[in-house]
């Protein structure tokens, strides 16, 4: 036990004496959570659109007023030919054009039917669909208001409740993902590099010929990073709640417990990477390639997993961040308890045990 403590102390000293590591450990996560937490969002606000009002009548004016009143659009009114719209799209000035035909109001009054053309720059398909659906909603709204007294017969009125995120903000979706990414990347990279550094410098040999058991060496390596990561987690949570306005609806204790589990998995992965690489450079590269891309792409927070081809969906199952993302959403945003996330918890725990076992085995082989 005394041996172990002196080892752990040595590891802490390594970390404290190296300002670069400290910056990596605390600076990166803070920068990332703030930068990505604020910046990563699909919310559309004040998109530049143009309204081509060939009608200039009461009805078109009323609809335009409604569009202008929406926070989704920043409206510019000009008469434009289709080729002018094309030019404006090409220059990237506008994202959508709403065109009213000449006899809009007359048609509406006499034929009871009129149409509005919406032209979207679909080079970004998502923004295009979103914007045109906002316009459709606004128009439908106007239509419903047209004749409040003579309500339409047989109306089905949808009444919607947006759960967990009534303002449809971007942060609630991205923050749990960024948390997973930051915790994983920092832990995996720091542990693997710190162990490989000892190998590279030759100090690992000295540790291995000492009477300390390999398990002890590993524990001693892992504990400082575990402690620092938990501190990190605290910082991240405080930032999420107070800076990014993403509340913790469920139990904080449960969230901390689950995050610790993710950190343990990350440490185990870091250990594993350190046993299969021999230079700091390749450890770094392996953590980056092996962790960053899969975490970003396959954890589900940037892109929905159900849209991916089956192969990738299967692969996504071995990405720890995928499970953690589900857990954080459940605890933090939905306020659920352990009962609804025990399966994900078990998977994460399994991964931690699996990788610890694997790296212990690799470690022993090295000794012989």
């Amino acid at each position: 036990m005394k041996q172990l403590l002196s080892f752990i102390r040595k590891e802490f000293i390594h970390v404290w004496r190296d300002p670069k590591t400290l910056v990596m450990l605390f600076g990166f996560p803070i920068v990332q959570i703030v930068l990505f937490g604020f910046a990563l969002t699909n919310e559309i606000k004040y998109a530049n659109i143009v309204v081509v009002d060939n009608a200039k009548d009461v009805a078109s004016q009323q609809i335009i007023n409604k569009i202008e009143g929406s926070k989704f659009f920043s409206v510019q009114k000009t008469l434009m030919t289709p080729s002018a719209i094309d030019a404006a799209f090409k220059e990237g000035k506008i994202k959508l054009a709403v065109v009213f035909p000449v006899n809009f109001n007359t048609d509406l009054l006499h034929l009871n039917k009129a149409s509005i053309q919406v032209i979207a720059d679909a080079s970004d398909p998502n923004t295009a669909t979103q914007l045109s659906s906002y316009i459709t909603t606004i128009v439908a709204d106007y239509q419903a208001q047209l004749s409040p007294t003579m309500s339409a017969p047989y109306s089905i009125v949808p009444e919607v409740r947006m759960l967990y995120n009534p303002d449809l903000k971007g942060a609630p979706n991205f923050v749990p993902g960024v948390m997973a990414m930051v915790l994983l990347l920092v832990c995996v990279m720091m542990t693997s590099v710190s162990i490989v550094r000892e190998k590279e410098l030759g100090t690992m040999e000295i540790l291995l010929v000492s009477p300390v058991k390999p398990l002890m060496v590993i524990i001693a390596k892992a504990i400082p990073y575990l402690v620092l990561s938990i501190v990190n987690l605290g910082v991240i949570l405080v930032l999420s709640v107070y800076a990014l306005d993403v509340p913790i609806k469920g139990s904080v204790l449960l969230l901390v417990f689950e995050s610790t589990l993710l950190i343990l998995t990350a440490l185990a992965l870091g250990l594993f990477i350190s046993t299969i690489t021999s230079s700091q450079q390749s450890a770094m590269f392996a953590s980056m390639l092996g962790m960053m891309l899969p975490t970003m792409l396959l954890s589900g927070y940037l892109f929905p997993i159900e849209n991916m081809p089956v192969v990738l969906q299967v692969i996504s199952n071995i990405v720890p961040a995928r499970w953690y993302y589900v857990i954080v959403k459940a605890v933090m945003l939905k306020g659920l308890g352990f009962a609804s996330i025990w399966k994900e918890t078990l998977i994460l725990a399994g991964m931690a045990v699996f990788f610890t076992g694997l790296s212990l085995r690799n470690f022993k082989i090295r000794l012989e």
Partner: protein, 372 residues
């Protein structure tokens, strides 16, 4: 100038001797161009819907069928129990719950007006609003048809209707990979050509060969050009390969002028190689260069508009992204390749990236002098 020739010859020899080089040049881009667009698919379809039907009437059945046959929705469950549907939302099995109250059809006929409750899991706000948009569109459509069927002859439909006819230009099928592939190509070039230049120089520092070069009569600018020109060549090769690849695999043929793309690529490489050079002057070891790169690549990838639109970011974040040459290039690629924008449309992009490149290169060269 003769020295420059020898420097470049040396660089090319070293490149081709590096076993991983051809892999990095062709195989890695190919894999990424295949994998990334598959994973990075934000098309919103297959929205899971749970239907709670307390009514079991013709109307509720018809409407349910119409929703499910629209192609946007997948049935998660069809049930009588609210609690079951709630659980489905909690564990992410359903994105939407539609609830027909009991007496739905009867009330509609009697009172002309009946509410239908929809609950949406809004954690992903975009998915929620698009999904709800689709659903309310389908309901409105069904509602209109219903009226046409039910309204007795003689009693005219006085309700005016406005049709919104949407047309989607440049990508009428709203295919997501058309949007992603050109941008991924930018991220690839940044990684392969731009940043490996930095590693290359730092490697000479670490190995000590730069000392040897410094005592020779080679001029600084010759040394720097000798490093940069081979990477311009690498960039050209990767870019051409990527364009060809996206044409063969995805059928994406640039709508605009290819010469404009190449022109912009060189302006971009000028800037990003300057950035690599700058990093190399600040790092002594490959490991330092590596950590700095790692941070920047991550920020570049996340904030350059590759995955989420720049327009959605808060103002200060937009200012930051406008300092990254990569976000201009991603924009230009999407403009020229998908929309066919011309040189006039991207003139400001060219100007800004050139200016950024000028600042980065000047900074790097000044800093390079100081350190030796």
């Amino acid at each position: 100038m003769r020295a420059l020739r020898f420097l470049m010859q040396k660089e090319f020899r070293q490149m081709f001797r590096d076993k991983g080089f051809t892999g990095r040049l062709f195989i890695a881009p190919a894999i990424q161009l295949i994998l990334l667009p598959m994973a990075a698919n934000y098309t919103i379809k297959n929205i899971n819907i749970a239907i709670v039907d307390h009514d079991h009437s013709t109307v509720s059945q018809q409407l349910s069928n119409k929703i499910l046959s629209s192609g946007y929705f997948k049935l998660a469950d069809y049930t009588d129990f609210n609690s079951k549907a709630g659980a489905l939302i909690e564990n992410d099995k359903a994105d939407l719950v539609l609830e027909f109250p009991s007496g739905f059809e009867k009330n509609m006929i009697r009172e002309n007006n009946q509410k239908i409750a929809i609950q949406v899991n809004a954690i992903n706000g975009v998915k929620a609003s698009i999904g709800f948009g689709y659903l309310s569109g389908i309901i409105a459509d069904y509602n209109n048809n219903l009226r046409l069927q039910w309204i007795q002859p003689g009693r005219t439909n006085t309700m005016p209707t406005i049709d919104v006819v949407s047309s989607y230009w440049y990508n009428p099928s709203l295919t997501y990979y058309i949007y992603m592939v050109p941008a991924i190509l930018v991220s690839l070039i940044t990684g392969i050509a731009g940043l490996s230049a930095a590693f290359n120089i730092v490697k000479e520092k670490e190995m000590g060969t730069i000392e040897q070069i410094n005592v020779t009569p080679i001029k600084k600018y010759e040394f720097i050009l000798g490093k940069l020109i081979p990477f311009l060549a690498v960039g050209t090769v990767v870019f051409s390969f990527g364009l060809l690849f996206s044409w063969v695999i995805y059928g994406i043929k640039p709508l605009g002028n290819i010469a404009v793309l190449y022109l912009f690529m060189y302006v971009f490489l000028f800037a990003i190689l300057g950035f690599g050079l700058l990093i190399s002057t600040y790092s002594q070891t490959q490991q330092q260069a590596n950590s700095i790169m790692f941070l920047f690549m991550m920020v570049f990838n996340m904030m350059s508009g590759l995955y989420t639109p720049i327009d959605s970011m808060p103002g200060w974040a937009q200012v930051i992204t406008h300092l990254f040459p990569i976000s201009y290039f991603i924009d230009v690629m999407r403009m020229v390749v998908i929309k066919g924008s011309g040189i006039h449309d991207i003139r400001m992009h060219i100007l800004f990236v050139f200016l950024i490149g000028l600042v980065l290169n000047t900074w790097a060269v000044l800093n390079y002098r100081k350190t030796t």
